[in-house]
Symmetry: C2
Amino acid sequence: MAFQPYQASMLALGQAPSVIRETFEYGLRRAQEIGRENVFDFSLGNPSVPAPPSVHDTMRRLMDETDSVLLHGYTSAIGAEPTRAAIAADINARFHAGISAQDLYMTCGAAASLTVTLHAILCPGDTCMTFAPFFPEYRVFVESAGAKLTQVPADTENFQMNLQAFAELITPETKAVIVNTPNNPTGVVYTEENLRAFCKLLHEKELEYGHPVYLIADEPYRELVYDDTTVVPYLPNLYDNTFVCYSYSKSLSLPGERIGYIVVSPKMQDSRLVYAAVCGAGRALGFVCAPSLMQRVVAENLGKTADLSVYRRNRDLLYKNLTDYGYRCIYPDGAFYLWVQALEDDANAFCRKARDYELLLVPSDSFGCKGFVRIAYCVTTEMIERSLPAFKKLAEAYGK
Amino acid sequence: MAFQPYQASMLALGQAPSVIRETFEYGLRRAQEIGRENVFDFSLGNPSVPAPPSVHDTMRRLMDETDSVLLHGYTSAIGAEPTRAAIAADINARFHAGISAQDLYMTCGAAASLTVTLHAILCPGDTCMTFAPFFPEYRVFVESAGAKLTQVPADTENFQMNLQAFAELITPETKAVIVNTPNNPTGVVYTEENLRAFCKLLHEKELEYGHPVYLIADEPYRELVYDDTTVVPYLPNLYDNTFVCYSYSKSLSLPGERIGYIVVSPKMQDSRLVYAAVCGAGRALGFVCAPSLMQRVVAENLGKTADLSVYRRNRDLLYKNLTDYGYRCIYPDGAFYLWVQALEDDANAFCRKARDYELLLVPSDSFGCKGFVRIAYCVTTEMIERSLPAFKKLAEAYGK
């Protein structure tokens, strides 16, 4: 075989244009041309509210009170015991889940939670499933773990999990299913009914196949829900063979600090062996330990969140006005995304047209679903207010 | 094939006993039995001096002056441009290396620097070489990237790179060679003469094979050298196809914070394509970005180091006394390790015997070399002083 100076698949990933990133970069260039205040960039899912003040209070106190060698030293590869114990206690207080410190593995954020989990369980020949629309990096993570991603077509009415299509696509080679609620890109929270039906079906398949099918709950948006009535069920309570992949990026507005965790449910079959495989995967991928200062910071800020009222206000403002203008919007219970049907069949063409009005939206194709756009409303309310006339004109251009 | 509930290789890694970790855990138990002051634990390479005060000064100032959303937000996947530009300028001021910001990729520490680099370049069928004794995780990282590690036997006289053995073992399948100077576990700094001869040989092999053979310089200990005359040559200046994998863990005593970088030498063949593959590998492994606050902190603390005088004092104290007691010690120019010949052929048996004197040493076998022990002297000087009678008695037990 000819010499390859680099891994071809890694080069492809490094060169692959991300539509989200490309849209964001376009926005930066456009802002230089016409002024930042005239560009309405809804492309990035980057929290727009500060971390709660207690985060910096904790950091200052830790620097004052804690020996530097301890504060910034290696923790155990699985994470500091006090941090894991505090998180387990918080989970149990909220969800009565029976988690203990030994079931938790601290990570460098949600992406690491997923790659470590996937590398721990996926073998060549396995498939991993997920429900469209979905975060496009799932495909990258599953394939880099040596397996294949199967996407379940979207339920384009309600954007709940499409269980009928799922039942038709699952096979004995299915090792795991990634479930993301509150959902990126739709903002939809899967209903308890939908989740219970899914778990029942999944468990039937386990019995039929004679082996576990893991449920991977990717839930960085768990705390980002806006109506008091919204319930995000805790999946280890509904299904034994569950991993929870969490990150503090959104709840504490610390996305750059790379801090999160994996729960390996103690009810999982061979739970301790699977946990050991998680440890092995973390080691093989080079994670060593989650950032040590942030491990202490999150342990002392459990139950706190960034000020979510801005996101709620943004959601209400966009949903109401865009609906008034004639757009079909899926009502978002959580996350900070609004999912809107494009006003022509081709979402890419619609997004190009939107750029004429300086509206930067992300077409749905890269999320595994055609004909919609994602509007990330983690922006200032002022920008949304300024953008409304543009949304109105765009609708009018399509005869709405 | 039978269903596997986990990746067997990951389980094996998660369950594999690390001799270093096992020794450390033994020390903790032993300390509970006989008191911490009576156990002499030299097992772990964990910095024992605090971060320089300027690190906390910088953190406090950044919290006071910088918008939280910017301070803790995602940076570009390759790292913040100002950080990369500052590091490149510092490298060029010290080594005249012609590096620019676009050649740097910020990482979550040295292990991540290595796994991302290895995943970027290694293909199935490739081998990666390194020189014994070596950091045992190299094998884990190379194998998890799908390639094979070939270890070059140690030069047990001087613990420089054994170039004769290297020349016999390199093959056209050799894609890369990892070089670690100052060295873990020996503390030896490879001489400029040794490195130049190695680079010359490597380049001849490139010409012979008609393809690049990458040099991966793993140098987290670069700043930890104790004699003013010690020179650690900058490898991109000696060899074009070089990666530098760096970490601030040791130089700034921030091992838990996971911050480092990769340099892809601009002189490397297809440098921009290889850099793109590095970006792809970081993405595939789930790194997203290096911790954002620490990216700013290191950029403002370039050229600073933790107080290395403690390590120098420890080195001098141990080297002089152990040599006096009759041990053969390899003189360490850098890092914080002393490499000592065991007083019997079996280093494991010698380490068990040392435990009778409460001395916790790491046998050399796991570093790919028999008959020696590693003494990590990143401990308090007081502990070393208390341990000296035990080292003396251990030598006497062997008739020294």
